[in-house]
C-alpha cells in the first residue's frame, strides 16, 4: 500500500529520526537543521570531519549555504565574522594551533557582538605534534567574551549546537560561542543520536535577526571605529553586562529546549553523577566522563562514596551555583585536561577557576585538589580515576595532599 509510506525527506521534517553518527557529524546535522547560511572550513584534525560532513550535505543538496574553504584559520574566522555582521547565520571551527592561528579574529568577535558558533575539536597545542585532546586551545579565549561549553556525547553535541544558536543569537547576548568536543573521543566516535524533526527545530530556533546592527546599504552605520580611551572602557562594560545575564539566558533556553524536544539536561551548567550521598567528588569537562563514570560505579560497588560532576559551561562559569553544589562534599578532585603553567598552586585552568569560585561563594571550603591528566590525548583510565579518588579521600580525612599532581605520567 503505497499510501502508507512517507517519503524520507518528508519524514525528516515532521518526525524524529535516529542514526549512528559521530560527534562531528551530529554538529554538521545541527548546522543543517539550523539552516546555517555561511560555513567556512580549513583543514586541521580532528575538528575538520565536521566540515567534511557539511561539504557532503551541500553537495547532496541537503543543506543550502555558502560553503567556503579558506586559506587559513585567520581568514576562516574573518569571513564568517563579516558574514554574520551582514545578517547571515554562520558556522566555523578549528582545533589546536589552528584555533590559535585565528586568535586575532577570535579576539575581536565578542566586542563586535557577532553571534558566531564555532566547534572546537579539542587538540593538544604544538609542539610536539599531537592529534589528541587537550583543552588549552579553546580555553585560550576564556577571558575575551566567548561563551565556552564542553559536551561529552554526540547527542549532547547536536543538542548543544541548536542551543548555542539560540543563546548566541539572543539579542541580549550577541556574543560568539564555542562548542568543545574532545578530539577523537567525541569527534570521531559514533553513537546512536536522536535527530530532531526540522519542524521542531524551526519552532525552537527563530531566524537570526541582526536588527539595527545589520551591515547593509539600507542601514548606514559605521561599525567599530577607532574609539581609544574615550570609549573603549564603556564598550568593554557592555560585554561585561552580557556575562551578568548569560546564566539566566542559558537557563531559559534549556527550559525551552526541554519543552520543545522532550530531552532533559537538568542543570545546564553541570551534570551530577552519583553525588547524592557522596563524600568526595571528582570534577572535569568533556569525554573523560566515560572512564570516570565507569570507575565511580566500580568504586561504589566497593562501598566508596564517590561521585562525579561534569562541568558543561566554562564561560559563563556559574560560580555560585557550582560552589553551592560542591560545598557539601568533604573534598573535591579536579581533573584538568589542560595546564596553566605558573598559575597559583601550579594547577590547571579548571581547578584555579573553581578555587576562585569556592573562595567567594561556598559556605564551607573543602580541599580542592588538582590532577593534571590525559594530556595530548592520553587516555584517562579507570585505574587513574581510582588513584585520583584515593588521594581525594585522603584529603577528605584531613591528610594534607599536594595541591597539584600529574596522574598517568610515565615514571
Amino acid at each position: 500500500m503505497a499510501t502508507l509510506t512517507i517519503p524520507v525527506e518528508e519524514k525528516k521534517k515532521t518526525h524524529e529520526q535516529e542514526a549512528l553518527i559521530t560527534g562531528a557529524e551530529a554538529i554538521a546535522i545541527a548546522c543543517k537543521l539550523a539552516n546555517v547560511d555561511v560555513v567556512t572550513a580549513y583543514p586541521i584534525r580532528p575538528y575538520d570531519t565536521v566540515m567534511q560532513y557539511i561539504s557532503q550535505l551541500v553537495a547532496d543538496g541537503e543543506m543550502d549555504c555558502e560553503y567556503i574553504v579558506a586559506e587559513g584559520e585567520h581568514s576562516q574566522f574573518e569571513i564568517v565574522k563579516h558574514a554574520s555582521a551582514c545578517g547571515a547565520r554562520v558556522f566555523c571551527g578549528s582545533s589546536g594551533v589552528g584555533w590559535m592561528y585565528a586568535m586575532e579574529c577570535l579576539t575581536v568577535t565578542p566586542a563586535l557582538r557577532i553571534p558566531m558558533v564555532a566547534m572546537v575539536g579539542n587538540r593538544a597545542l604544538d609542539d610536539p605534534g599531537a592529534f589528541g585532546v587537550e583543552h588549552n586551545d579553546a580555553l585560550s579565549v576564556r577571558d575575551l567574551g566567548w561563551m565556552l561549553t564542553w559536551v561529552d556525547s554526540a547527542q549532547e553535541a547536536l543538542d548543544t549546537a541548536l542551543i548555542a544558536y539560540r543563546v548566541a543569537e539572543d539579542r541580549r547576548m550577541f556574543v560568539p560561542l564555542a562548542i568543545s568536543c574532545d578530539g577523537a573521543f567525541l569527534t570521531h566516535s559514533q553513537a546512536l543520536v536522536k535527530i530532531p524533526a526540522l519542524e521542531q527545530v524551526k519552532k525552537f530556533l527563530p531566524p537570526y535577526n541582526r536588527g539595527d546592527l545589520l551591515l547593509h546599504p539600507d542601514n548606514v552605520i559605521s561599525v567599530a571605529p577607532q574609539a581609544n580611551e574615550d570609549w573603549v572602557m564603556e564598550v568593554r562594560r557592555q560585554n561585561y553586562a552580557v556575562t551578568e545575564i548569560a546564566c539566566d539566558v542559558i537557563r531559559e533556553v534549556y527550559t525551552d529546549f526541554e519543552k520543545t524536544f522532550g530531552r532533559k539536561y537538568g542543570n545546564p551548567f553541570f551534570e551530577e553523577y552519583m553525588t547524592k550521598d557522596a563524600d568526595v567528588v571528582l570534577l572535569g569537562m568533556g569525554t573523560m566522563s566515560t572512564p570516570v563514570k565507569v570507575a565511580v560505579r566500580k568504586m561504589r560497588e566497593e562501598g566508596k562514596k564517590v561521585g562525579f560532576v561534569r562541568l558543561r559551561w566554562f564561560r559563563p562559569f556559574a560560580g555560585p551555583e557550582i560552589a553551592k553544589c560542591l560545598e557539601r562534599f568533604k573534598a573535591i578532585g579536579v581533573i584538568d585536561r589542560d595546564f596553566s603553567f605558573g598559575s597559583p598552586d601550579l594547577s590547571g585552568v579548571v581547578a584555579t577557576e573553581l578555587r576562585s569560585a569556592m573562595y567567594t561563594s561556598a559556605a564551607t571550603r573543602p580541599p580542592v585538589l588538582d590532577f593534571i591528566c590525559g594530556l595530548g590525548g592520553r587516555e584517562v583510565t579507570v585505574p587513574d580515576v581510582e588513584k585520583m579518588t584515593e588521594i581525594t579521600f585522603e584529603a577528605a580525612k584531613g591528610k594534607a595532599q599536594p595541591l597539584t599532581q600529574w596522574i598517568g605520567l610515565r615514571e
Binding site: E71, H74, A85, C86, P217, V220, I221, P225, N228, D230
Partner: protein
C-alpha cells in the same frame, strides 16, 4: 547547473562622462582626521562617490581606519565596518557570501550590492596578501579590493612595507653612520601579481588620485565587471614621504611621468595602458628623470648621486627590458633576437 561559475549580476555603473557629470553626492565626507594633502583620504572619497549608495565598505586597519574613522565622527555615508589588518580579502568574501545566500533564500531583497574592501600597502601587499589571493580565486563573488598605497605603514610612525620604494628613509630604515641604504627591497608589483596569479579575475588596474575622473571610472568598471577585482592606487603621503602638502597632486603626476608608476587596466586578460603611461610606451612622451620625483621628497634626501643612478637604471630596465614594459618583469632575451 550548466555553468561552473554561479555568477550574480552586478550594478551596471556606466563611466562618468566628464567632471561636470560627476554627481554631487558624497559618501565620504567630513569627520576624518587625515593630514593635509592626504591622497589616501582622497581615494576613499573618490571610491565612495564612484560606487554610490548601494555599497558597503570594509576597511582594514591602517591610516584609513585609525586616522579616518573615529567614534562619533565617522566620515562614511555608506555602511562601513572595520576589519583586521590582514583581512580585506576575507571580509569582502564574507560580506559577499552573506548577501548572496540571504538573497537566494529570500530573506533579503535581491539586488546587486557593491562590496568594497580597502587595505593599505601594509594590509594588502604584506599581511593580507594571502587572504586577498584566496579571495581572487572565488569567481562567484562580486567584490572589489582597493589597495591604497602610501608606500609605508603610515599610521604607526612610517615604517617600510613590501610596497616601499628602494632605499627609502622610514623609521625602520633610517640611514646611519655606516649604512646609508637600509631598505634593499624593490617595491612589490602588486597589480600584475594579482592578475597573473589569478587567471579568472576579470579586472585588475592601477590608478592615481592625480587623475580623479579616471580613478572613479576604473572603480566603476571594477564593480560592474563581476567576480573579485583588484585596484592598486598610489597615494602620495606628505607625512611619510616628507614633502609640502601642496605637492601631493604634482607628485602623483610625477610618479607617472617618470615611469615609476605605470597606469593600466587588465580587463578580461587584455592589457591597456592609459594616460601618460600609454604615451611613454608608444614613445610619444619621454620619461622624465626619476631625480625630479625623488628629490622633491625628504624620504630620499639621503640619496647620493649613485643611488639616484641606481634607481633610474631600475626604472629604465622596467621600460627597456621587461617583456611587457613597465608591468611584467620577465625579460626578453634581447641578444638572441
Amino acid at each position: 547547473m550548466s555553468t561552473f561559475v554561479d555568477e550574480k549580476p552586478t550594478q551596471n555603473l556606466e563611466p562618468f562622462k566628464g567632471v561636470k557629470k560627476v554627481p554631487h553626492e558624497e559618501y565620504y565626507t567630513s569627520g576624518h582626521r587625515t593630514c593635509q594633502g592626504c591622497e589616501s583620504a582622497q581615494i576613499m572619497k573618490l571610491m565612495a562617490k564612484a560606487a554610490g549608495p548601494r555599497t558597503i565598505v570594509l576597511g582594514s586597519t591602517g591610516c584609513m581606519y585609525v586616522a579616518n574613522t573615529s567614534y562619533y565622527a565617522t566620515p562614511w555615508g555608506v555602511p562601513w565596518m572595520h576589519t583586521q589588518l590582514g583581512s580585506s580579502g576575507s571580509s569582502a568574501l564574507g560580506a559577499a557570501a552573506a548577501f548572496r545566500v540571504q538573497m537566494r533564500k529570500g530573506v533579503m531583497k535581491d539586488e546587486p550590492i557593491n562590496v568594497i574592501a580597502f587595505c593599505g600597502d601594509g594590509g594588502g601587499a604584506d599581511m593580507g596578501l594571502g587572504a586577498i589571493s584566496a579571495t581572487m580565486c572565488h569567481p562567484d563573488y562580486n567584490l572589489l579590493i582597493l589597495m591604497y598605497d602610501n608606500e609605508s605603514y603610515a599610521n604607526t610612525d612610517i615604517q617600510i612595507s613590501g610596497a616601499s620604494p628602494y632605499g627609502v628613509n622610514t623609521s625602520f630604515s633610517t640611514p646611519g653612520k655606516v649604512k646609508r641604504i637600509m631598505n634593499h627591497r624593490w617595491k612589490k608589483n602588486m597589480a600584475p601579481l594579482m592578475m597573473v596569479g589569478h587567471p579568472t579575475v576579470k579586472y585588475v588596474g592601477t590608478i592615481s588620485t592625480s587623475y580623479p575622473l579616471q580613478a572613479m571610472n576604473n572603480v566603476r568598471k571594477a564593480l560592474s565587471i563581476g567576480g573579485p577585482t583588484f585596484i592598486h592606487c598610489l597615494n602620495p603621503c606628505p607625512k611619510g614621504w616628507d614633502f609640502d602638502p601642496v605637492l601631493s597632486f604634482e607628485l602623483g603626476e610625477l610618479a607617472v611621468n617618470t615611469g615609476i608608476w605605470p597606469l593600466y587596466e587588465i580587463e578580461n586578460g587584455k592589457l591597456s595602458l592609459y594616460g601618460k603611461t600609454k604615451d611613454i610606451a608608444n614613445h610619444k612622451f619621454k620619461r622624465l628623470p626619476v631625480r625630479d620625483y625623488l628629490l622633491k621628497q625628504g624620504r630620499f634626501a639621503h640619496f647620493i648621486e649613485e643611488d639616484i643612478e641606481f634607481f633610474q637604471s631600475k626604472i629604465d630596465e622596467m621600460w627597456d627590458k621587461w617583456l611587457v614594459p613597465g608591468i611584467i618583469p620577465l625579460q626578453r632575451e634581447i641578444e638572441a633576437e
